[in-house]
């Protein structure tokens, strides 16, 4: 029995999957370029991450590490939270070393992803975080409704971009880009919305309580 292409593609959507690509799936060049990009990003991130922000990075790394265990049972499949949008928004380039650390520990302790795919997975999750930092970082200090909308967009779009990057990474090995990207995006729609809401709440809370944590803060700290 042979199933038509569309059906099997949709079927894959129904199955459970996630953003950690396992070992042995990707071809050598993809793995190598993933490692190169992750190394470059981590180098820039470590350079920009001054000492005062290391505790932020550690706590966000811990949050990211645990977030992968939280499943979102809504929608056609069961996927987990990623939280790369909020990590990117608060840390900028520091997202690279932060996510790399968390992914390494997830790989070693939970066998999520793998060691050879660490570079690719880091790039898949950290690059969108940095892009979102540049896209939305400047909006956060504006009027509150603009800030909340852009925070939501930050959480939403970072997952969206990650899904596209999963498709791109897999395109060079086995499956068609459009099919896979569409499948990943559809399955992650509930996660995108939840991450957007989480990011918006985080920003709303931090704006009231600790505005200097947010990017673009220029006013004096008056606590």
């Amino acid at each position: 029995m042979k199933m038509p292409e569309v059906d099997s593609c949709f079927f894959m959507v129904l199955q459970e999957f996630f953003m950690h690509i396992s070992e042995g799936v990707l071809s050598g060049p993809v793995l190598a370029s993933g490692i190169a990009l992750a190394a470059a990003g981590t180098a820039i991130g470590l350079k920009r991450l001054d000492y005062d922000r290391i505790p932020h990075a550690a706590i966000l790394s811990a949050a990211f590490f645990v977030a992968s265990l939280v499943h979102v049972p809504i929608g056609p499949s069961s996927v987990h939270l990623i939280l790369n949008g909020i990590v990117g928004l608060l840390l900028g380039w520091g997202a690279f070393p932060t996510i790399l650390t968390a992914l390494l520990l997830q790989g070693v302790l939970f066998q999520f992803g793998g060691i050879t795919t660490l570079g690719v997975n880091t790039t898949i999750m950290a690059l969108p975080a940095v892009i979102c930092y540049y896209l939305f970082g400047c909006m956060i200090q504006k009027k509150s409704y603009i800030a909340y909308i852009s925070a939501f967009a930050c959480g939403f779009i970072s997952v969206f971009l990650s899904a596209i990057m999963v498709g791109a990474a897999l395109m060079f090995t086995q499956e068609s880009f459009l099919g896979i990207a569409a499948a990943v995006i559809i399955a992650h729609l509930p996660v995108m919305i939840i991450e957007g809401v989480v990011a918006a709440f985080c920003v709303a809370f931090l704006k009231k309580v600790q505005p200097e944590l947010l990017p673009g803060f220029s006013g004096s700290i008056n606590s």
Partner: protein, 204 residues
């Protein structure tokens, strides 16, 4: 309201990371409430006679339906491929007497692998070939007790080995609370290392 404000002030202003650590605790409780894991896909294979049976599932128990299974020989040449049925099962005749590498491809970067050693295949096919002619000229009364025991033990061992292997495999894969706490501990340990180097630099 005043009390809440005071708590807010003392917790979040003295220790600015209160919010995020709060979030971690929140997520942890979520996890403890019994979130299911589905992060790995596993394939498991055993030989019976001249047929290889495979079963595939995601960790967490969900079956990997309609997924591609590819069989390679020891040299990495593709021997055959097929798709799992609705129970996540797929079976095929032994194509070659070599070590078989069975790869499951569940799409989206999900991949599982199982290696079937040559000994297992040979043993099965041999015992099958031997058993057939023997059965014709040996009646039940000719067998002595130790002989029967030996045969039963052998059969049991070959039948149980893959199951034991699978038990051992499935046991080590679930993330446990100690792993989670350990991971968080590692991250904070790294933070400690960073501050050590920072302050050493400062003191010099």
């Amino acid at each position: 309201m005043k009390i809440i404000h005071a708590i807010k002030k003392s917790v979040f202003h003295k220790w600015p990371y209160g919010l995020v650590s709060f979030m971690i605790i929140f997520l942890l409780t979520f996890f403890l409430a019994g979130a299911a894991f589905a992060h790995k896909v596993m394939i498991f294979a055993y030989v019976d006679g001249d047929t290889v049976y495979t079963k595939s599932k995601f960790s967490g128990g969900k079956k990997a339906k309609n997924s591609q299974v590819i069989v390679y020989n020891q040299q990495g040449n593709k021997l055959l491929e097929g798709k799992t049925d609705n129970n996540g099962e797929f079976s095929f005749k032994v194509p070659q007497k070599t070590t078989l590498k069975i790869v499951l491809n569940a799409g989206m970067g999900h991949r599982g692998q199982w290696t079937l050693p040559i000994e297992e295949i040979e043993q099965q096919t041999k015992s099958e070939a031997k058993a057939a002619p023997k059965a014709q000229n040996v009646t039940a009364t000719d067998l002595t007790l130790p002989e029967v025991q030996e045969v039963v033990e052998k059969v049991l061992e070959t039948k149980l080995r893959p199951i034991m292997k699978m038990l051992a495999e499935s046991n080590e894969k679930e993330p446990e609370i100690s792993d989670i706490i350990g991971g968080i501990g590692y991250i904070f340990g790294l933070m400690g290392v960073a501050s050590y180097f920072h302050f050493r630099k400062k003191n010099k």
